[in-house]
Every structure is written in C-alpha cells, then in structure tokens.
Symmetry: C2
Amino acid sequence: METIESMKRISRKNIISPKGFKAVGIHCGLKHKKNDLALLVSEVPASVAGVFTTNVIQAAPLQVTKKVVNETQKMQAVVINSGNANACTGKQGMQDAITMQQKTAEHLGIDSDLVGIASTGVIGEQMNMVPLLSGIEKLQPMDTLEGSIQFSQAILTTDTVTKNTAYATVIDDREVVVAGVAKGSGMIEPNMATMLGFITTDAHIESEHLQTALKEIADVTFNSITVDGDTSTNDMVLVMANGLAGNHSLTPDHREWQSFIDALHAVSRDLAKMIAKDGEGATKLIEAKVTGAVSDEQARQIAKSVVGSPLVKTAVFGCDANWGRIIAAVGYSGATIDPEDIKIYIGDTVVVEGGEPIPFSEEKLLIYLKQHEVKFAIELNQGAGQGMAWGCDLTYDYVQINATYRT
Amino acid sequence: METIESMKRISRKNIISPKGFKAVGIHCGLKHKKNDLALLVSEVPASVAGVFTTNVIQAAPLQVTKKVVNETQKMQAVVINSGNANACTGKQGMQDAITMQQKTAEHLGIDSDLVGIASTGVIGEQMNMVPLLSGIEKLQPMDTLEGSIQFSQAILTTDTVTKNTAYATVIDDREVVVAGVAKGSGMIEPNMATMLGFITTDAHIESEHLQTALKEIADVTFNSITVDGDTSTNDMVLVMANGLAGNHSLTPDHREWQSFIDALHAVSRDLAKMIAKDGEGATKLIEAKVTGAVSDEQARQIAKSVVGSPLVKTAVFGCDANWGRIIAAVGYSGATIDPEDIKIYIGDTVVVEGGEPIPFSEEKLLIYLKQHEVKFAIELNQGAGQGMAWGCDLTYDYVQINATYRT
C-alpha cells in the first residue's frame, strides 16, 4: 500500500467506523451453527452505488437490490443472509426476496425501497423463510465493534477469516472515513463473482458521482482478482455514503475529489486482496504486475491470465519456479505481446529476458516461493500500459471444499 | 458413437493401420526411464494438414513444423520427443529444433523439408541434444503393432494411458483407413493445448482439401475439450494422407467426400474424448450437450463453459448433483440465453426447467454421478444451434501432479 498524504489506515477498522452506521449479525438457522444473518443500517438514507455480477443468470436478491440502486438511488439498510443464495429459484425465489426486503423495512420502520438485500450460499434451493423472517425480527443493530464483527462473520460462506478495512482522509477540513467489509472465497472471478462487498462512508456525495467512482475503482480492484474463474450469480459491491462527515458535496470538480477516490480505492484494494488471499483452500496470495503493455486494459488482462492459470496456481502451491507456465499464460491471454521482448521476475529474480531463459538459483527462489505472498512482474516493452491482478494458489483443500460443498 | 453406414471401427486400431506407414518409439534419455522419442514415417511423401496452438508464444518445433505444413505441403516423417517442450528457449531452441529436423532427415535419407517435429514436456529448459541426436540415429520404424505401441507410449507426458483409434471406410470401392494417436493430459484447452495428435490415412487427397477438412473437424472435436483452461505453446494436430488406398483424389465434390469426413471426424472425436477423460488427475469424463442455442458456435461456447468450470468439475468429482453450478456456468458463458427457458438434465434426470428447480432423487443421481462418464444436457429454447464439449473432473491428483511437475 502506497502512503498517500492526508490518508491514514484506521487500526480499529470496521464497517461502522464512519459516522452514523450500525451493524449486527446473528444466527437465524439457515446454517447449522454459524452466524448467517447480517444487517447494516445508516442513521439517515445514504447515497448508494453498486456494481453487480455480469452473469446473465442473476439471483433474485441481486435484482431487488439493483432496483434500489438504480431507481431509489438511496439506501438506508442492507440485510444479508448466508447459507442460501436464493439463485435459480424462479418466481418463488423472487417472492421470497421481496418478502425479505419488506420484512426488514417493517422491522426498521423505513420504506422498503430503501432496503438492499443480498444472499450467498448454495444455488438452486428455495430459501427457508421461517428462520429467515423470525431472524429479521431479532436484528438489533449496534454502534459497537461487537456488532460489526458479528456482521462480518454472518456474511461468510467458506471464508476462513473476516475481511475488514477502513481509511480516514480529510476533505473540507472534515475527517471523512471510508470502511469496507467483504466475503469471498469460491466462485471468484473478475467480473464480480460470489463476492459481496459493503462499503460505508460518511462522505457527502451524490449517488451519480459515487457510482462513477465505484465503477472506475471496481475494475482495478474487485474485477482484478480471480480464485477459480467462475463468475457467480450473486455478486455485488455496494457503497453507502450518508453525508454525516459534513463536507461539501463531492464531485469530480471538488479540489479534494482525489482524496476521496484514494480512500475508496484503498478500501476496495484491501478487500480485493483479502478475498484473493482467502480463496477457497488457498495458502498464498499471488500478485501479477504487468508493465509496458499496449494499454492498461491489456496489462490487466495479462495479469489476470497469469494469476488465473491453474498451472501457475498449482506451481505456486508446490513452490515450483516454473516460469514457463507464466509465459504460457501471457501468451494465451489474447493481448498484444512480442515473445522476444518479455522480461519476467519472480520476486526480485529475473527468470526470462528477451525470450531467453536466465539462469537463476533454484534454492533462492524456493525460499521466496515459500512465503505467503508471491509476486510476479512482467515487462512487455510494447507500450505504457500497466495493471495488476491478484489470485491464490490451487490446493488440495480447494478440491476438498468444492467436492463436498453441499454435503 | 453413431453407427455410420460403410464405416467401421478397427479393432486392432493403431497409427499404422492405414497402408504404407511405419512407427517406432524408444527411450533416448530425455526422461529417466520411459520411452521419450517417437518416429512416424510414410513410404511415400504424404499430403499434410495441421492445426496449431493459438498461444502467441509458440515453441520452436511448432514453428519448424508449421513451415513444412504451409510451404512444403507434404510430409514424409514426423519425429516427436517428450520430456522437454523446447519452448521459450530463444535462438538456441530454434537451432536445436532445426538440427532435430535435419538429423532425422539424414537418418531417413529424405529432404529435411519433408520432416515434421514436435516436442512436449517442460517449458523453458534447453533441449539436451546429446541423447536426442544419438536417439534419432537408433530409430528403426516398424510396420508392426509393437512399433505403433512404442510410438504411442513415447509421446506421453503425464498421460496414464495411450490413445489410439482407427476407422475404415470405403471410397471408390477401395478400403480407406484413417487412424490416430494422441497425447494430452495437462494444459488442455479449447484452442489446441499441450495436446499432440497425429492422424494417418491412406486416402488420396491434396493438402488443400485435407486442411479444409481438418480445420472444420478440429473445431468440434479437439477444440471442444478442456482440462484446465491453459493453452499450451506446443499443441498441434497433424494429418498425413499418403494416397496408397488408391481412391480418386478426394475433393468436396467427390460423391464419397462425406465418408472420408465421417471417418476423420470419428478419429478426431475419439482422440479428443480420450484426452479429456485422461486429463491430469481425472477420474471421469464430463460431456455437455447444448441444444436450442442461437448458433452452433454459441452452443459449443456454453458447453465448454460448463465442462471448464472448476466448480462443476469438483462437484462431479464429489458426485454432487449441484446443478446450480451448471446453470451459473451457462450464465457466464457470454452466450445469449433466457434463464426462464432453460432445461437441464443430469443424465436422464431433469433438475431445472423454466428457471425453476425440479425435485429429484438425490440417491438416484448419486448412483449416476459415480459412473465414469457423466453427461449434462442443456436445452436453451433460443434457436437451432447445438454443440458439445468434453472435460474431466478436478481432483486432488490434478493438484499433486502440477504442484510437483518439475521435481
């Protein structure tokens, strides 16, 4: 993470770090034991922005929430269940999603078109509405660390750790905080996969500008990670901005617009990397940085091709400096390259230059590859485009988790 | 396999089933113990056609062979080594590939531009030329089953079984035989991945028409399989047609053109399915058949998306009837679909129809999913397009094989 002046990472980071948010998570009974129902509420209706899965099959809750983002353009609460994705559940699934939204609105005493909903878990099974609805009635959002920890736990599926981050910046002499929480793990692929991300901020900003900022940042953060190449039916990242920091309304013309962008970017990148690192069965984060591409877009495309390659992923798991698999993934990425101009680093070690293998110490690279974060740098010498992507290794545990998911 | 009149599968099927071919395989020392050098020779120069990897990074031997296919348009021999792919090896690698071609030509007493070469194995290491060249001098091609068995063994890498097939048909009252041998296993993806395929036939056909036939058939066979989504630097499928069957020269206008196409198609499909079934670590062949797509191309695209999904692949390994993952893969395939029109079968069992889950017997499907071939049928009701794709399950063994490949 670069140090950006005037921005600091918050140590006691959680989704209610910005002013005016409360959160809670409970066990309602969709899962056997773990927390499975979460609620995030803003004191006042917040500007909202969202990015959603590109999968043509879109889960009912996602459709309901998209409507809030696109039509109401304000959101005051979002309720999330894990254990069932309510996806591919037909008319009944849509009815259940609407009921989930309405019951939450009634419980909070707000309009239902201010309530977003999200579901994650198994696809193709009808929602068990009895525990869900009685669970909603029990939700008591808190402005405490405990509430936000419960929230971050309740949205998880096969994740092994909760994912929280927060940054503070200064805009119009007011402290503005941006915080985020996410779940990821399986089915994570570039264009929004079963990844849920919720970002809160007390910045004052209209939905229109918030959407612009989120879209731009999502491409280089959430859409630049991959766990297994599968794109889920349920992914979404929502940003709620309730304005309680008291800054002047942010627009791209605001002289401190970039400070807000930097904080939103830092939160999004932290969450994206945490999701990649905690991919199903993963033991390592893989980062690929590409420079000298013909465009930033192509650089990201190559970086994603490398971190998404099952052969690269298994080699990293096996601590094998098999750079041939990296260059092969560069080659089939579809981007413009010249094999004779490529230089590849594993960590600080050059392994190929000008299309020729460079002798290196296997022992030194073995030590490097045993670390929990492995970095590849690929210089193409074709132009000024650059980009990064993150993924994880492919392990026995990935297979085990997914071979037995429903059982 | 459909029964096609006038065509029969040959029981003692091998690469020298057509008239005028000889083969041999030996251990020259690139691998520790196993056969690693293979040679296929035709009595007379044969018409040749080839399809090659779409990876921008192309191994030296592939570039050498492409030139023979494109410029000489005839081939009399092809020499293949396993244990080293001679890929990403720069100028030295190209020099070594040319030497491999020339030494084989000298050994056989034929022009070097009639010799194709292929290499498979680890990427990025210079070829060990001493054992390779002394091996070439020892190659004595045979017109016996033994020679062709040795050949089929010597081209393997992590394959667990040899892959041979052959069909006989009748053209101009002459028996015409088409035979094929292949290696596959890792790095297998649609557009030619470390897959090598060699097809022989005694049909009389010019290279131009042979190329047309191969291109068309490769798209619906070799390019419709996937093991891990990686596309290799070394893939190729070659067809050599030596004309010794004595039929009139085949063109698309020949009244028995379709008989030849059917035999070439059957050989290619057999090899493709054998490669998918023997994917690294695989225990099962997965077949996806898509009907009712807006085009044949989109149908294949969807079928490949389904058989390529890591989540579908692990579910099949775990015998889990998790159809949600199938429909999710349909959704992110990029093809035109309407979720409410989709019907999905696992084997003979309908699991979703009109976008709604259909109750089914988990026990019955568990028994079905324990078989070695698992079939999914997906009806889209959008048009008349249809297509198939083949893949394999994702298992602990895939991870093990690839985590330790170079060690």
